[in-house]
Subunit: 342 residues, 2 copies
């Protein structure tokens, strides 16, 4: 049996190549999606579970900005348990699943197709039930993950949503920003020390609140999920705005905060919350391009694409914390790759 | 200064009267909404924060079932920070705020109106900025809450969403079920003992995972929020389906589970998760119509309306736990009634 965390480390190390392949294929992927995505949809809905549902949170911002209409994250039970009758003519539905074999996600996307929606699948598996249910497929090319916690698939899913947004409308993302992405991730992977120092600060933490807003919200949610899944830390993800409306009452010396932001309109809001809680005794870790960041980011990437290196920083933290706590992140207790839910 | 929890207890005790007033006005409210809600909207979006956002989670199920299209919960930052250009002609937007004075909620509803949406406000305050921004108002009539954690407003907001759903389409809720609601709540309020016994079991808990699905999901989220806000317990709310996809790894003897369900299609799924975790050593509390429930519900109410007594059971638990822990739930540290967020 291999060393604990070797699988997760190998998955993470594959990210620059996976991302480079997607960036190289960008014009082809965007072009091939256009036939499914034009004319512009009347509304959009995204269905996913687990990590893929946090990628969907990013997709929600990216697609809403592209189509100019609020984008819904599916409530699968309305379809699988309540048999609600839908009319989705003119709508776009996107299903996202690493394996394409989460039965509920494929079932909901099929139901949306039956209700008249145009459908796109985001998955590693072109021959999966999810891909077969869809009009178009964005193939991630991340391959099989060696560890149960998905890493390379998650960052590829973020890119897939940005590409769908590009096929739907203007995103403002320049070709130069796209082409800088794989190397930016490679540079972070060569710099694990900040995550090791941050993990040392969390060594005895009973919990962690992860906060962000806007495009980076998905990273606060995914960081919390990964820290739970891989390292067994009771981490929670929150919108910084929602955190102020209640959970802030349980902040304090024994609940550290991970504040996530990138260069963009949401940064000031997250920084204000982090600075304020720090002044009143909450230990704060910053994942940001700030000069005082514990987990630094390159400030030059535009906010939507900065989600990708931010996700990598969160992966590094989860891996380092798992190893420090003596947990094997490759095989967390009680989880398997495909979780069936009705 | 009055006894700790006297304000929250008084707010809770006002619920049968507040609910009876809304039920009595049902035909008038539904009728007056119809002019705003017809023809059926092409899509719908709901904006709220804090407790009101958990009422919106219920609203999302109720409205989606009524209009047959996925309903979005707003991402306010897309409007307030990113200036995304929206086209909401033909759409319905609902804003929900206890006071109507949460600046962000009123700002987002106004932006949706400017983008062409028909708008409905759910609030206690007819003269608030939120109500003034809307085409129609569902006035809750709950009055000012004595305690910071909203109770009577939350249950009135659930009813308001059910009334909007009724104005939009068929809900299957019979007049007899509606008229039974205020008394069902009054009977629960006269029966605080189950909550006191459940609070005793949580006396030393470091955290709590609250799970539900479908219509009752909002109650798992709201129960967790209220237990944090009022009693300082680190409670988390989860969809039972999402919980299986990761957080289940941190379940165990030191993280009790509150499993919430009512008579309906989602009950079996929640019961399976609760039973399985209980067998492997997780302490489980059940808020349900089951014979083995710790916090019992009347099984005769249809699932959407059963959210209201379920919310009351959660309030009773939060109040009992706060008093047992020596916390005054009326004035939790670090919170005020109106939380400004950008």
């Amino acid at each position: 049996m291999s060393r604990a965390g070797a699988g997760m480390a190998a998955d993470m190390a594959a990210q620059p190549a996976t991302l480079a392949a997607l960036v190289d294929a960008r014009a082809r992927i965007v072009g091939s999606l256009r036939s499914t995505l034009r004319p512009p949809p009347a509304g959009a809905v995204i269905v996913g579970r687990g990590s893929s549902d946090y990628a969907a949170v990013f997709g929600r911002y990216a697609l809403e900005a592209a189509i100019g209409r609020p984008v819904a994250l599916a409530a699968p039970s309305l379809t699988t348990l309540y048999d609600v009758e839908l009319d989705l003519r003119g709508w776009l539905a996107v299903g996202v699943s690493q394996s394409g074999r989460t039965p509920e996600v494929a079932a909901v996307l099929s139901a949306y197709a039956d209700a008249g929606a145009r459908t796109v699948a985001i998955t590693n598996e072109r021959e999966s039930p999810l891909a077969r249910a869809a009009d178009a497929v964005v193939e991630l090319g991340a391959g099989v993950e060696a560890a149960v916690p998905a890493t390379k698939t998650f960052t590829a899913e973020l890119v897939a949503f940005a590409l769908i947004a590009e096929a739907l409308g203007r995103t403002g993302l320049m070709a130069s920003a796209w082409s800088a992405l794989p190397d930016a991730v490679a540079r972070l992977l060569a710099d694990p020390e900040p995550a090791e120092l941050a993990a040392a600060r969390l060594a005895d933490a009973a919990g962690l609140a992860c906060v962000a807003r806007g495009h980076l919200l998905c990273i606060a949610l995914e960081a919390a999920f990964k820290l739970r899944e891989a390292a067994g830390l009771r981490a929670e993800g929150w919108s910084a705005a929602d955190f102020r409306h209640g959970p802030v009452t349980v902040a304090g010396a024994d609940l550290p905060l991970l504040a996530v932001s990138a260069a963009g309109p949401a940064a000031a809001d997250v920084a204000e919350l982090a600075d304020r809680l720090e002044r009143t005794g909450t230990p704060v870790l910053r994942l940001s391009p700030s000069a005082i960041a514990d987990l630094p980011l390159d400030p030059s990437l535009p906010e939507p694409l900065a989600t990708v290196p931010a996700a990598v920083r969160a992966q590094q933290l989860a891996l380092a914390l798992a190893l420090r706590r003596g947990v094997n992140p490759d095989r967390p207790p009680g989880l398997s790759k495909v979780t069936p839910t009705a």
